[in-house]
């Protein structure tokens, strides 16, 4: 076979950017909008499947196991437990580049901070949410530890109102 690899040592690179047009997606408006709107009142709401009793937070329109439409909405507890977690190293400039933006330099993340992300199951739910775990040293975090929701000072009914979770009880450093 007359392969190119026998003729050229390396494949070619063409630099440049092309706008290939836009994507359009269908996303569920309605019940998720209501979910974040309730953040204004510092409420966490989910949906309850009447067939199997699962409570989904964030809410879900159709139960993934029963395939029935969920119409029942429920408010759930502000308290939950950590199912799993991960911890970032101390953040530095130039290390976290997202979509071309240095998140530390732009001020979205603080220099030297260690972000802990937890999978949290709020009491009374059958699902989990990924949320930052605040006000705790990485060494003190345990799977199964009780946490509670932390809200922004002024809630506007947006996803960002729910800042994360913090230990539900005071941690004593003794």
């Amino acid at each position: 076979m007359g392969l190119i690899k026998e003729k050229y040592e390396k494949t070619m690179q063409v630099e440049g950017e092309w706008n290939v047009g836009a994507y359009r997606w269908k996303a569920p408006a309605g019940y998720l909008d209501e979910f974040v709107r309730n953040f204004r009142d510092r409420k966490i709401t989910g949906t309850l499947c009447k067939e199997c009793g699962r409570v989904y937070v964030p809410p879900r329109e159709i139960c993934a196991r029963c395939f029935t439409e969920i119409t029942e909405k429920v408010e759930v507890s502000q308290y939950g437990e950590v199912l799993a977690f991960l911890v970032s190293p101390p953040l530095q400039k130039g290390k976290v580049i997202i979509a071309g933006i240095d998140a530390v330099e732009a001020g979205f993340l603080k220099e030297g901070e260690r972000v802990i992300l937890a999978m949290v199951r709020f009491e009374g739910t059958s699902s989990s949410m990924v949320l930052p775990l605040l006000n705790v040293e990485p060494g003190k975090v345990r799977v199964g530890m009780k946490v509670k929701a932390v809200w922004a000072e002024e809630c506007k009914g947006v996803l960002a109102d729910l800042l994360g979770v913090k230990p539900a009880y005071d941690v004593r450093f003794e």
Partner: protein, 414 residues
């Protein structure tokens, strides 16, 4: 009626950063190696099953441009794209085509060329997957800090880091067990001429010295983004008699693929009831069904070697339990005892596995190739030093919820 099917030839491209070839040439490398290994001519191949993820290698429909490179022009061809399981699913497709009686000789090839995309590795491809969800979350008021935090946790490595944490909580294993598994992968890869990250004599201490990327995941735990292709050729029992004659073949004894509910936050920020990423119900179901079809009752005793899809070391431990080789939460003890080493009682990933070589589309198929090579006794330096009668090839992917299993044996199922 299901027919007996054998793998009569295997081929792999050298995996790594392959700027010396274009995608068609990379695929051709594996295909022609397999055709040569099978001792057949391209005219004998009746149909092609090809597998690749769109976007991961910078080309959306690579199957459109290479048919002539692999002898597929004018022949039936189908493409599969199922994330990490691409290779596993493509291997299944090729098997189905022969088992069903549709064709007698089918070639299945699967590949990825990560270095063709500008972003490191699969980021571009994963953005394709996540972008709809992310933009929706921006619409309902996600701020830049949350966006940055999500980017920080990273795409596949991020999900796997949660999974590792779930697994640690579930099994009681420690990060040093991950170090041991990763070191074993590097050592085994050093014996495999097609592997990417080779490190002869690598120890757990070497891995432990690498930077902690995001606890509990070290740099030394993370798989590379490789370029590569893997290929197998299937033949029906009659065709084996005609084509393979005395050459060793690997018989497909049982296959199964199951999906679980989407883990992580679901499509468009919807909730999901999967609250333990390390549970992997799909893997348990796949294994159970594949063993049943293969007539295997005790996998730990009847299976001699396993190639598990484990880009990250905790997955080798987790899946080896889900596939029934060890009791729940005990795989790390087997690693401590050296049972899963290449010369151990139950070798896992003697090829070095996905942790040492990850060209996504190729990875699932490579597990099938490696399992077949062990049965044929053609794994060269990383051949396990014992009789291999049955081997298992596993692949994992999707939004952490797809699993495929193929059980191969040295004799056809009766």
């Amino acid at each position: 009626m299901r027919r007996n099917v054998a793998i009569i030839g295997c081929g792999q491209a050298k995996h790594g950063r392959r700027t010396d070839v274009n995608q068609a040439e990379l695929v051709a490398e594996a295909v022609w190696a397999a055709i040569e290994d099978a001792g057949i001519s391209p005219e004998d191949v009746e149909a092609y099953a090809v597998g690749n993820m769109q976007g991961f290698g910078g080309i959306a429909q690579p199957d459109l441009v290479f048919a002539d490179y692999i002898g597929a022009a004018g022949k039936p061809i189908q493409r599969v794209a199922t994330g990490g399981t691409v290779g596993g699913s493509t291997a299944h497709l090729g098997y189905y085509e022969v088992a069903s009686g549709m064709y007698d000789v089918v070639l299945a090839v699967s590949w990825e060329k990560h270095s063709d995309s500008a972003e490191p590795g699969a980021t571009t491809g994963l953005l394709h997957v996540a972008f709809a969800n992310l933009s929706y979350m921006m619409r309902i008021g996600m701020d830049m800090r949350s966006f940055a935090i999500m980017g920080l946790a990273g795409a596949a490595a991020g999900i796997s880091a949660y999974q590792a944490a779930f697994y640690m909580a579930r099994s009681g294993c420690r990060i040093d067990h991950f170090d041991m598994v990763a070191a074993k992968a590097r050592r085994n890869a050093a014996k495999n001429r097609y592997a990417h990250l080779k490190w002869p004599g690598c120890t757990a201490e070497d891995i432990a010295k690498t930077e902690m990327l995001i606890w509990p995941m070290r740099f030394g735990h993370v798989c590379p983004a490789s370029d590569g292709a893997s290929c197998v050729i299937y033949a029906s029992e009659d065709a084996v008699k005609k084509l393979a004659v005395e050459r060793p073949v690997a018989w497909v004894k049982g296959v199964a693929a199951y999906a679980d509910e989407e883990a992580d936050q679901g499509e468009s920020y919807q909730g999901t009831a999967v609250i333990d990423y390390s549970d992997q119900t799909g893997a348990i179901l796949s294994a159970k069904k594949a063993y049943e079809r293969a007539g295997i009752k005790d996998p730990r005793k009847e299976i001699d070697v396993a190639e598990i899809y484990a880009p990250f070391p905790h997955q080798e431990l987790m899946f080896s339990e889900r596939l029934g080789f060890f009791d729940d939460g005990t795989a790390w003890k087997a690693v401590e005892e050296g049972i899963t080493e290449i010369d151990g009682d139950f070798p896992i990933c003697p090829s070095g596995g996905v942790n040492a070589t990850n060209a996504i589309g190729s990875s699932g198929m490579q597990r099938v190739v490696e399992a077949a090579l062990q049965i044929m006794g053609k794994a060269e330096e990383h051949q396990v030093p014992k009789d291999v009668r049955n081997a298992v090839a596993h692949a994992w992917g999707g939004q952490v919820q797809f699993n495929t299993i193929m059980v191969l044996g040295d004799k056809p199922k009766r």
